[in-house]
């Protein structure tokens, strides 16, 4: 799997050398922008929806899911604000990660460690998002489950300790990647220029990382509650999804 990814990246790299599809400046700028708007914004929204499971239980979570699905043109919102940006940001991000010659061994400065972590968490988040989307949104798309059953699917999954642990890793990776990416976004677009501005914004972003991770884990724990357990026959469906 990793080998194929590296080979793919190499092909992308040589393709870029021969005839660039897009000027590197614009493609990198687009990558940076999409990471915050819309992907970062959606990520925060996703956290708030999940957090309803912790705050108001199954009822709160279901009403938040219903609210999202009642939005006009929801398919196009998903397509243009989530799936396409996710595809671009993910694939181009893998290419960026492939290009770096990580050197934390010789330069163990905090910013350099975060540079490497940004790339590691990016790859982890990429894998996690594919897995998570397959189990949830994709199953809805092929008609295996409905939006109302998503809470039950999550319950089935996170009551398994291994899946719970993997989800915690995925959530922490995604939260770090987003918050540290927000810090880098502010540098890359010339919002935080001087060392003091960059230091203060890093405190804010790392604080946000902790808050988001904790809130996500609280939501995840809430899904373990028995109220999310589905009594109907969808248990079988979930079994097939999981296997």
């Amino acid at each position: 799997m990793m080998f194929t990814v590296i080979e793919f990246m190499k092909t992308l790299h040589t393709l870029k050398g021969e005839r660039p599809l897009m000027n590197g400046y614009y493609s990198r700028k687009l990558h940076s922008l999409l990471g915050i708007i819309p992907l970062g914004a959606f990520f925060v929204e996703h956290l708030l929806t999940n957090y309803q499971a912790f705050e108001r239980g199954k009822e709160g979570f279901d009403s938040a899911v219903n609210f999202l699905n009642s939005m006009p043109l929801v398919f196009f919102l998903e397509l243009f604000l989530i799936w396409l940006p996710l595809l671009y940001h993910g694939v181009y991000g893998l290419y960026i990660a492939y290009q770096a010659k990580n050197n934390v061994g010789h330069y163990n400065y905090s910013r350099n460690i975060r540079f490497t972590l940004q790339r590691i968490t990016g790859v982890l988040t990429f894998v996690f998002v594919i897995w998570h989307m397959y189990d949830t949104r994709f199953q809805v798309a092929i008609g295996q489950i409905t939006h109302e059953q998503l809470g039950g699917v999550m319950h089935e999954m996170v009551t398994n300790p291994l899946i719970f642990a993997l989800y915690v890793i995925g959530i922490i990776s995604a939260s770090f990647h987003f918050t540290n990416g927000l810090w880098a976004f502010m540098v890359s677009w010339g919002i935080t220029v001087g060392p003091r501005a960059q230091r203060i914004s890093s405190y804010i972003c790392m604080g946000l990382f902790v808050i988001m991770s904790v809130m996500f884990i609280m939501a995840l724990t809430a899904f373990r509650g028995s109220e999310f357990q589905e009594v109907s026959a969808i248990g079988e469906v979930i079994q097939t999804v999981l296997s």
Partner: protein, 254 residues
């Protein structure tokens, strides 16, 4: 008396060597008699005088480059105990032994510790790191530069193209065409000059191409490594702001 006791001590070196640009690198150990206040360059000079390795075999003297010997020319940059720096300013008393010396492999190695920094000078040409003052007639005196700005710009002008920031940067390597922090900061320097400012957009546009400012990944190793203390990351962020502004101006046709 003190000198006789001092000379009985030896300083150990492990030097990464390479006989030609294409050949493989290897390490060779050396022992050099200690002298008070010695630096890596004086140790390399000693090896040149007595080209014997630690095993006592005569070997080809180690090649290196040096010029000013006071950390202003950048010629003797090499990786000393894992960090790129100038050998002339690397005092043996302050280094852990054995002292490991390698060439800055981000650049093509010519021989032993000699590297080819041509890419840095090409980068300066690419970003037009100069102020055009020639015309077909006398253009007269340029605008005055405020003293305060001159003092600030002087800090940026200390760059000696030594290559340490490129060596430390994780995004300068064979897989990217990133121009590197040094040339970026020079754009800020020449754009700050009242006459240089007249060609500001030209320089910004060279940074908005492949391998330009997009190559920066904010690891900020450059600013931590720069021997001249140049605020490289502030320069990069400032240019991020300038290129972003220029991008929108160009799109909107302002």
């Amino acid at each position: 008396m003190a000198e006789t006791t001092a000379s009985s001590k030896n300083v150990k070196f492990i030097i990464t060597r390479q006989d030609s640009p294409e050949s493989k690198s290897y390490t060779e150990d050396f022992e050099v008699p200690y002298r008070p206040g010695m630096n890596v360059i004086s140790a390399l000079m000693e090896i040149q005088r007595n080209p014997n390795n630690a095993q006592g075999q005569t070997t080809a003297p180690v090649c290196w480059e040096a010029n000013c010997l006071e950390e202003v020319c950048g010629a003797c940059s090499m990786v000393i105990n894992g960090k790129p720096r100038q050998a002339c300013a690397a005092l043996v008393d302050k280094l852990e032994q054995p002292i490991k010396i390698e060439p800055m492999k981000t650049f093509p190695v010519v021989r032993d510790l000699v590297i080819d920094r041509t890419r840095m000078f090409n980068a300066l040409k690419k970003v037009k790191a100069w102020i055009p003052i020639d015309g077909t007639y006398d253009l007269g005196p340029g605008p005055r530069m405020p003293e305060k700005r001159r003092q600030w710009a002087y800090e940026l002008s200390k760059c000696m193209t030594c290559g340490v920031c490129l060596e430390a940067c994780p995004n300068v390597n064979e897989k990217t065409d990133f121009i590197g922090p040094a040339a970026l900061s020079q754009v800020r320097l020449f754009n700050a000059h009242p006459t240089g400012e007249m060609n500001k957009e030209d320089r910004l546009e060279t940074l908005m191409e492949d391998g330009g400012i997009e190559g920066c990944g904010n690891s900020q190793n450059c600013v931590r490594s720069c021997p001249k203390g140049i605020p490289l990351t502030t320069s990069i962020a400032e240019l991020n702001k300038d290129t972003t502004k220029h991008l929108f101006k160009r799109w909107l046709g302002v």
